[in-house]
Amino acid sequence: MRDRPDFRLDDVLLAEAARLLEEGGGTLDQSGRASAEASAAGGEFEARLVARARALPAAPTLRAALAHLRGATLLATAAGCVLATTGGAGAVHALLTASAGAPVNVFHALATLLALPTATLFGWLLFVGLGAGLGGGRTAVAGVLGQGVFALAGRLARLLDRGPAQLTMVRAAAHVLGSSGAGRWWASAVSHGLWLAALLGVLAALLLHFGTREYSFNWETTILAERHYLGATRVLAALPDWLGFPVPDAAMVAASSKGFDTAAAGSRKAWAGLLLGCVVAYGVLPRAAALLFSLLAARRATVRIRLDASHPGYARLRPALMPMARQAGIVDADRPAVVDDPAAAAEPPALGEDGPLAVFGLEIDEPAGGWPPPVPGIEWLDMGYVNDRTDRHRVLDGLLAAAGRPRAVLIVCALPVTPDRGHQGFVHDLQRRTGVAVLMLLTGGQRLRARGHPERLETRIDDWRRLARAANVPADRVIEADLDHPTDDGAARLRRWLGAGVGPDPGSAGGRAPATIGPAFALIAEHAGRWSTAPAAPGERDRLALQQAIAALYRGTSGRWPDLLRIRLPDALVERVPDGAGIVSAAERMVSLLPARLQLSPRWLAAGALAGGLGCLAAAALVAPVAIASLPAWAGLGAAVSAVLQQRGARPPAPPAGRDLGEPVAAAALFALVLHLQGRDEAAITRLLDQALGDGEPPSLPDAAGVRAWLGDVQARLDRALQATEVQS
């Protein structure tokens, strides 16, 4: 790893503490500003993490916590040193004053004073050596005293400042130092420092005592011989002698054995010198060397400390700090175009009086209703489909060369196709060069709606109308009609529009659909009122009459709700009686629009199936009222309902006790709701049904007042739900 001089331990600790805080309590960067600053700063990921930590609003608190921790560490170390020094001095004091007046046992004193420090030093060396030998493993044992001091420092810091920042900073320091090896070296350094302080205390106390009082020394032994001590003295004295301390020679050793006269001149000084020298040479100096070594190693390890960027707490920040992409701005700006509108100048050509009506499809799929459009009583001049450049030229030439001059040309455009300038230019050119009036029919709306996002249909129609305007085709020469789902109604409408001069789109006989569901519900209430006073329960014909009335209300939107219910009427114009399969599929479809909750109730299932089946019949009735009178299809209704119930694994519900209008009213209400909500996508319809219809089973409504009350509830809920969707969109 390369050394990166800009990383400081402070930064790493800050970042670690921030990470720990965020892992525990959610992000610290609520406004996103710190991350934004950091990613703008650039550089490697680790550098950005540090920059972010620095820019956090919590950073000053964390820095203060770090300062506290530092202070606490220094305090703890200082306290430790003081304790150690005192301890050392105290040990000497105890040693030398224990035997008042009696000679000091030199070797015993040496052992007492130096055994422990030396042993721990060897221990430290061993563990460090082992650690290095094992490939730098983390031997936690090294520097035990130091770790104790750090733990104390942590406690102290937390005592001073109980906040979570302090807590976290202590943990962060422990984690960073502990996992990098630097902690071990720092702990060792403190350990050595403490021992050094203790030994210096020993030294100082010895000097004090030897300087101010007169001591005599001897040595004793039970099992060893004098020559052992001679040898030992010689060995021990070597280093102190080299350092310049006075040391005893062989004679003094012999003379100092217990029992002999110990007051020989010079020997006291020599023995004192030996003691002092040994403390220095075998206590202070090694520890000082170890301290230096540890400090150097700690320094080096600290410089090497890095953030572990692969830690999940950091990796989580990567998407924000190291974005995958960067916007680089606009290369070729849009100049606000000077819109010269040549089309606005000229008058559009007038419609001809007579002659065929030329028609071609512009980039459309073959309509399901057939080609040319199935409008009765029109003389078509079929020019086929225009899909590419060649076709465009062909049509242009064809119109120019047409023998019987067409009175207008109907361009059938597809709503799923995005209108573009190519279309616009073509239409404009066509009208200008041939002088024939252009009419435009926009088809394929259902297919566009089926793609989802029903609001896009309105936008698309608007775009095509704009294109027409820009191509000099007046607004009343553009109509929207779906040729994939032709209905008699629609055909009649087109005929009127195409035939009797072209005025505004006449819409349909029924006018626009009602704005709220109120009229439909009023119809239901009215019928229910009649049923409640009738002798028998409402039969299928009565229910069908109600559904037809509701369907008539929504006539203005013809062509859409039968598609929603997937009602397929037979093609033959004469017989518009739907077959059993058609009724079943419509029943299925209505049931599938129900929310899941209601689908668990067999009574709602039955109501839904009935509504669907009756809806199918009502659709048929809309176009060919005559056929209904001869319907043998009532059996089909019952079978459809049972089929749907069986498929869902529900048992047919028990017939209600007494006069209960609940089910027929529920079925009619469902039908009205679906008709009212048509035009939205299915998920939205289901959601709105869920919110409008409330809980549980269809209500039991014994009389007209109950019916009105229930319908009023449903209407209120529906209005609320619709308002909510209005607000959202």
């Binding site: 892992e23 650039g42 943990r171 990796a315 989580r316 960067r326 916007q327 190519g422 793609r451 998920a683």
Partner: protein, 490 residues
């Protein structure tokens, strides 16, 4: 880690007929929803906008969004008219027309797009696969071919039911375009994105190492995202599993049920917010049904039996009905139950840490407290719900309602749609959670109440926050997160 130094920067022009999803494609590739402007109207993009794909902060690919081509038929006719001499090079002809009056006027938008193509190394030609193959598309492709730049057709909206993918492939082959990429900016597919880059590699060989670096980086970031999300969920699960609430014996435990449920709901909500933040989700960029949550909140209550059913999680026998769903009551009074044994085990095992917490629990035993904990089924439901959210977020893009509704398991109601996007691995993973036993890591968490960060009873202050954070908890969290990440699937 390899630093992608010295890699050549690839310049890509994204062109196509108007309203085919070029800007959406770039938003998806850059994961940046603020880029450009998207609408369903023609001519939305009216300038060339650049965005740069970065790897480790270094730019590797420059992408240029261009205005849609609208009048290519006219444009090709203009080129052909200008090419009076057969021997003139097409590129020169094109430049000539673009620099001429038409290029500033009638074909201004097309000119910008083509100039960008001429300045780039590769062109991506974006196609709305739902459109029929028409003359104008062929003309556009011919113009691009004349620009002498490698062209990768990108079929967009391939996941739509009325996509005509096969028809397009046939037609493109006839024009000698064989390296075709499929994409769907509605349902993001990491594999499709990779294939797009690979197709670009085949056509622009000098940039192979650049695209390799990009592919590797994308994969790595996705993995990190999954792991990060799994960590958040693992944290949630540990917090909820370990949580124990003590109720004095004389009090009715039902009264404590409400607050406990609310605490768990709040904790789940926090996890959801964290996940949304991790994926840099913005509420106004998504359709309401794109994610299984609305307004950043789960709509269905965590504790309703219907929600368990929706996810196909079978409740254990003796599940309490109504409001008690989701809780189990370990009566600790009068003898050792499983709950008390867990306490003792934990106490003996962790006698050195958090004596305060355990001491309190032991006192609770003797004073006769009832312990409320969260049931296994709720834990499983938490896991499965969050995994569903994560999978939906991984597939972020503009919404397609059908595709993002995931399969809810065998026992779910008939209304759930089929999740075509969920791979077999993901299904298996979630059904692992939906099955009976909790993973053993969570069982272990159950015996460590000090690991839970949820507040305990209102009258007892939270223990020292540090007590919950131990290395052992972190290790356990990693294990659970690894399992979850593996279950989340591709």
């Amino acid at each position: 880690m390899n630093r992608p130094t010295g890699l050549p920067v690839l310049q890509v022009a994204v062109v196509g007929h108007t309203n085919t999803g070029k800007t959406s494609l770039l938003r998806t590739l850059t994961r940046d929803v603020t880029f450009g402007e998207v609408s369903d109207r023609p001519g939305t993009t009216r300038h060339v906008e650049e965005t740069v794909l970065l790897v480790d902060g270094r730019p590797l690919v420059e992408l240029y969004d261009t205005p849609g081509l609208e009048d290519s038929i006219g444009l090709l006719e203009a080129f052909e008219a200008a090419r009076s001499d057969r021997r003139t090079d097409w590129v020169d002809v094109i430049r000539g027309v673009l620099d001429g009056p038409d290029g500033q006027g009638r074909f201004e938008q097309e000119a910008k797009a083509l100039r960008q193509v001429l300045a780039s190394d590769v062109a991506l030609y974006v196609i709305d696969a739902r459109d029929r193959v028409l003359g104008k598309h062929r003309d556009e492709l011919e113009i691009l071919a004349r620009c002498a730049r490698p062209v990768v057709p990108v079929l967009n909206f391939v996941a739509s039911p009325d996509a005509r993918t096969e028809e397009w492939r046939q037609q493109l082959k006839r024009l000698n375009l064989h390296a075709i990429a499929e994409f769907d900016t509605v349902v993001l597919d990491g594999a499709a994105e990779k294939r797009l880059f690979e197709k670009m590699q085949t056509l622009a060989d000098p940039f192979r190492p650049t695209l390799d670096a990009l592919i590797t980086d994308r994969y790595r970031r996705r993995q990190e995202l999954v792991e990060g999300a799994a960590e958040l969920v693992a944290d949630l699960l540990i917090d909820v599993a370990a949580h124990v609430r003590a109720v004095p014996e004389q009090d009715d435990p039902i009264g404590a049920v409400g607050p406990l449920q609310q605490a768990v709901r709040d904790r789940e909500q926090q996890c959801v917010s964290d996940l949304l933040e991790l994926f840099r989700f913005r509420a106004d960029d998504y359709e309401a049904d794109a994610l299984p949550i609305t307004d950043g909140k789960w709509g269905f209550d965590l504790f309703s039996p219907a929600e368990l059913k929706r996810f196909g999680i079978r409740a254990g026998s003796g599940a309490a009905a109504g409001g008690l769903a989701g809780l189990a009551i370990d009566a600790m009074v009068g003898g050792l139950t499983l709950g008390a044994a867990a306490v003792l085990g934990a106490t003996l095992g962790a006698i050195w840490s958090s004596v305060g917490m355990h001491g309190q629990r032991l006192v609770d035993v003797f004073r006769g407290y009832t312990e409320l904990r969260v049931r296994d089924e709720t834990l499983r439901l938490l896991a499965v719900r969050q995994m569903e959210l994560i999978e939906a977020l991984l597939r972020r893009g503009h919404a397609s309602q059908d595709k993002l509704r995931l399969a809810a398991g065998a026992g779910a109601g008939a209304g759930a749609g089929a999740g075509a996007g969920a791979g077999a691995g993901a299904e298996g993973g979630r059904s692992r959670w939906a099955a009976d036993a909790l993973p053993e890591e969570l069982e272990e968490a159950r015996s460590r109440p000090q690991w839970s960060r949820l507040a305990t009873a209102a009258d007892r202050p939270r223990p020292d926050g540090d007590a919950g954070r131990t290395a052992a908890r972190d290790a356990l969290k990693r294990r659970i997160a690894r399992d979850l990440a593996a279950d989340i699937g591709t």
